[in-house]
Amino acid sequence: MRPAPLSPQMTIALPVLGAASILIAWQYLLPLLGVPAYIVPTPTAIFGVFQKNFPLLVDNLRPTLIEALAGFVIGNLAAVLLAVLFVHSRILQAAYFPIVLFFNTIPILALSPIIILIFGLGMTPKIVIAAVICFFPTLVNMIRGLDSASDNEHELFRVLSATRSEIFWSLRLPRALPMLFSSLRIASATAVIGAIVGEWIGSDKGLGAMIIQATFNYQSDRLYAAIVLSSSLSIALFCIVVLIERRVVRY
């Protein structure tokens, strides 16, 4: 038999309690087990970084935020536009989709040095890397979404003598929105990863650069603070996407 569903209070309380139990174990159990602070600092030590070095953290958050956001917008926009082109021209799709597929198989870490060679050391290469990493899942999902209207739906629009652009705006695009948003949700995390990877390879600012510097200097509390901040950035982006999705996708 299936277990009864949890009450609304419990669905909120249980994850909070779960996280709290792990934090408490981390704070008190790990030092007891002899794990040194330079490998795993305690939660209070990490929290201390936020108090002591707040301006430093914000200074490093800002470029990463801008790069991730810009990469997110540019990468997804390019993917959506290319998907629209592909579903309206099977010839272009047949000719170029395999090439896009090939590019997607190149590991982003292998591609990043080339992007930095092309675009130099400023913010641009990080934005490009974040855009590239968002691009492919959105392209694939958007093509599938735009093609997901049923034969009957297309016939309905034909009976009404709808034009190609009417079919696009009134049928294909609304049909594609749920799939578009599911890839945007994934992209909200990968865009941040892209920006950080870019900063690893060549930058002295940003959360990625901070992670590298903190690692080399054994400032593990700073390293962990940077990790907390980059994951918070992903979560914030994710929440924005979900909020917009709830307003736009009504079914």
Binding site: S150, E155, F157, V159, S161, E166, S170, Y251
Partner: protein, 257 residues
Amino acid sequence: MANAIEANKLDVGYGGRQTAVKVLSGLDLTVAASSFLSILGPSGCGKSTLLRVVADLLDPLGGTINVLGATPHAVRSRRDVGFVFQDSTLLPWRTVRDNVRLPLGVGRRSLTRKIEDRSAELLELMGLSGLGERLPHQLSGGQRQRVAIARALLSEPKLLLMDEPFGALDEITRDRLNDELLSLWRRTGTTILFVTHSIAEAAYLGERVIVLAANPGRVVKDLDMRPFKREGNRCSREDAAIVAAMAELRAALERAS
């Protein structure tokens, strides 16, 4: 009275003209205006294909077809034809009212006449008043089909093509919608072509029933139902005459399958 449909030696198939698999072969069919024709046949006999040729969704390979005195294309451009699918094909992101109003929003450029927004009147006619702001997923299967019929009726079509519209509904709902459809037909005088798998439904609704056989599709039985019914295509499902007609249709359908 003029005929709504005149088809002569109609060949229809999928694929190229030479290599095509024929779905309908040499089909002759005349349908009187304002009549109710039920089309019965086994799967793959081309029932749906026939509707698609009439609706200008599919070009015939050979033969001629005349719909309401014009080509299927002209009739589609005039919006004189309404189509109801087996699945209601409602757009899930539009409210009931906006689904009914879909024909006002698309295809206006090629429209050759003005159509009025009769959505409020049609929602009431189909027993949907009060549900206009609902989304399709909030409706029952029967209500969804009512919305689909209301949408098809928005342009006041002279010809209504229905492809197993009640096939997925439970029997009680189906019977109720059958009666509503008949009273709608009496009121509007729309010619209806109604495709179904159900012998009982075909016999109850149609003034005339044709049975198609498969491979390739052709008419194997053409039964005038009026002698079995009272004035105005009225009958009860239990009438002995209707049961006899159903037996005759069943025999034809068994031979066709």
